[in-house]
Symmetry: C2
Subunit: 487 residues, 2 copies
């Protein structure tokens, strides 16, 4: 490959003769890793014209670089970065000027340092990945997804999808959600009451920005999805964690001055508790009394394989008080980044305006691909297949856990894709996870799910959404063995 001449610039501030400047520019390109061994340089004629200097100047610079073994010449085929040229130390320690900016001062608002959990990027290479929320490639219908993507890339769709939608969504996807997805949760909504988001994360973020300010109060399940706690703490509203029980969030424990209640009624995250119908009604009553809003994160309803799911909290809401968060990320794949919000029109209008300001709209091609995948019935088929697989894995897992008397602290009444586990008090699951990782086992320590600074450290989550059935028993054996070693 020839290095494009357009990437060569003489720095207007550079010192020295033109020949030196050219020499320096090329050497720095090599040192910084921009130009790599074996790559061809532009001809002297071309570079001279581009830089507006004489050809002899470039030739002398090249000759100097030849002498220093930065370049080699291969006769008529030109100049190349030498195999012996100094390799950049690593990309990370490129020599560069010290910033004159005091970033501690310059940064107006800090966002880093949240509790959000991290998984090894290469989790799929681990033999026993009991991790949550990652797609299992063996279950996903890759062929049909690809066909739907192709259809959405066809000339006719393409012309409409390349357009800037501004604040609009793909009408086909919206229609499908309104007519087919939401009715399965008992929800009726008009297109103006639905907003497509970049996953459930984005839906929760938009909701928080619209509803909460520094003066307002949110109630949050404890334990809960750690990224939600980060979103709320960034919004600087007052947050009260409310400890969940085996039925999920207890309405009576919500402080009376709460403005917004965040809850996960279908599968409490992470305990998997399903809120019974009576409590759902009690929660709505409680919210009505306090004139509070409820944000219902229905992140995993499709994983109900043990029993038909009960209708969403939103379906019981006659007041417009519930904002519903849905997601396709768990059932399709998380890298897709596709979710949605359902709520009253004044709320959706503000969320839409904010979304337009932040990112305009989720990419059109992805929305259309999902619309095809859903409307051609592939999604339903996928959910059935996943249900069967998860049910089987869950059974194997329950047996394996029972065999070692590992204690399950929460299991979904309707299924789900994980168990919430409680280790003996003396076990620190952060340490346990670290030790297990070196043995090929990934588990999720539970500490990050809890609020406050004195979080219990003996909980952990074991998901069965990404691990093949055949490895479950062996993986659980290793966990139990490692735990037995810890005294």
């Amino acid at each position: 490959m020839t290095l494009p001449v357009e990437t060569f610039f003489l720095h207007p501030e550079a010192q020295g003769t033109l020949q030196q400047q050219i020499q320096q520019m090329i050497a720095q390109g090599i040192l910084s890793g921009r130009f790599q061994q074996g790559e061809k340089l532009p001809s002297t004629r071309k570079l001279a014209t581009h830089l507006g200097v004489s050809r002899i100047t470039v030739t002398i610079a090249y000759t100097e670089l030849l002498a220093n073994d930065y370049l080699t010449s291969k006769g008529r085929s030109g100049y190349f970065v030498s195999e012996n040229a100094p390799a950049p130390p690593t990309f990370a320690i490129t020599p560069e000027g010290q910033d004159a900016v005091d970033w501690t001062r310059a940064i107006g608002q800090k966002f880093s340092g949240g509790a959000a959990m991290s998984k090894p990027q290469d989790w799929a290479k681990f033999r026993y990945p009991f991790i949550y929320g990652q797609a299992d490639p063996t279950l996903f219908d890759h062929t049909n997804w690809r066909l739907c993507a192709l259809q959405a890339l066809g000339q006719r769709d393409f012309n409409s999808l390349t357009t800037d939608y501004f604040d609009q969504d793909d009408p086909q996807l919206i229609e499908f959600i309104a007519r087919h997805t939401l009715p399965r949760r008992g929800i009726t909504a008009r297109p103006e009451q639905i907003l497509i988001t970049l996953g459930a994360q984005n839906a929760l973020w938009l909701t928080t920005q619209v509803l909460l300010t520094q003066r307002r109060r949110a109630a949050l399940e404890d334990p809960c999805y750690p990224a939600l706690r980060d979103i709320l703490s960034q919004s600087r509203c007052h947050v009260t964690p409310v400890r969940v029980d085996h039925d999920g969030l207890p309405p009576d424990a919500i402080p009376p001055d709460t403005d917004v209640i965040f809850t996960t009624p279908s599968h409490q995250c992470p305990t998997n508790a399903t809120m019974p119908m009576d409590r759902r009604r009690a929660l709505l009553d409680r919210a009505r009394e306090m004139d509070a809003l409820i944000v219902e994160d229905d992140y995993e309803f499709e994983m109900s394989f043990l029993k038909s799911p009960s209708p969403a909290l939103k379906s019981l809401d006659a007041d417009g008080r519930v904002i519903y968060v849905g997601s396709f990320s768990k059932s399709l794949f998380p890298g897709l980044r596709l979710g949605y919000l359902v709520g009253s029109e004044p709320f959706i209008r503000e969320a839409r305006a904010l979304r337009a300001s932040v990112l305009r709209h989720p990419p059109g091609h992805i929305q259309r691909t999902a619309a095809y995948f859903l409307s051609l019935g592939h999604y339903d088929a996928l959910i059935r297949r996943m249900g069967t697989a998860l049910q089987e894995r869950r059974k194997v897992m329950e047996e394996a856990l029972a065999a070692h008397a590992l204690r399950i602290s929460g299991r979904g009444y309707y299924g789900g894709s994980s168990f919430w586990m409680r280790a003996p008090d003396h076990i620190n699951t952060d340490d346990l996870a670290r030790k297990l990782q070196s043995k090929g086992v990934l588990i999720e320590p539970g500490r990050a799910f809890f609020a406050g600074t004195h979080q219990p450290s003996n909980y952990y989550r074991l998901a069965y959404s990404s691990i093949p059935t055949s490895r479950i028993r062996e993986g659980v054996d290793i966990i139990a063995h490692e735990m037995a070693l810890t005294v």
Copy 2:
């Protein structure tokens, strides 16, 4: 199509006998447009099992609905929504409960009502679309984009792309930007100094959130990109508009207590002025004196077809003071939503953490498709093709404007894709645009670009990025004619 039985729920709060409830549920489904004419209902047996009621109850409900002509029966093939069933009035006026929520109070922060301009969604159907920033399907290399998308959808890529990246980007795209795209602007950057965003809009939004607070001051070009003004006003920082001249932003006019300066040096938006090198240096000096940061929006550098572009402001920045915003949306297509930020590591770290909280990461498939399209050289070829077409259109347009003595107020020294026009003082270009729209001509009134409340109303923008060369003359004729009629 048979309506899936899962979409049938009995409302726990419903009144009346079970048979009445079922009847009501179906009728409401039809009235709300959820069940449409000709669609098949679940069999009485299936629905009875699903709802946990006796089959005779369902049969009686169906019979009642038959009598009311909501349903028809086709003998053994079952029950269908009748052709004579009452059609939903329109989707928009579905009967629904009045919200008990006072949304004026419940919404903590309002985001709607910004100045952001809107274009007709069906702009492509207009014969003379002098509108800005939309892709021209005749120039885009649809075939190769499709091939790259297919490659990115292949099994190997797919497995890696379906993963949740958390806060990471596609390493292939980052590498290409670092090694090829940025060097063309004279910029050297390490991967840790680059963040992929959902378009330039998202890059500007993230930057604003990280750098500006209610106590800080931003300087903004006037006129400027209206959505940027919205972003800043939402951040509630102090904003000083600085009037640009024919060389862009004048450094001396920037107030000395400014924290962050927003500028578009390569093609000032909307006047197209290119900032000369001397002024770029003066701007950096001025920022250094004040210890201010500069946000350089290089939104259109690829459109330099009259002359090689000068290196970016960022390339002259030894202090780490410049934050660079790049975008592929103008040159590929705006629906793509793909841009990037380049800046010092402490800044990028915060922007990355904020992005993770807001939306995690731009969808992996789109990042990988772009990486292929760029690295296979299709992008460069596209830019060349666009340059040729734009140059030709610009020439035709200049002639047409000259023929009618329409006054150009700003034209890019390096090219660009639009002219900034000044109509006679008595012309209100909002009115003009409305009148022209009914004649098939789309222009952009200039008012929204200006700050304050007494914006000049006689400017407008004429873009040539989406209109075929053959229609330019005719379109300009209509504009001139309409303007001559306005007294």
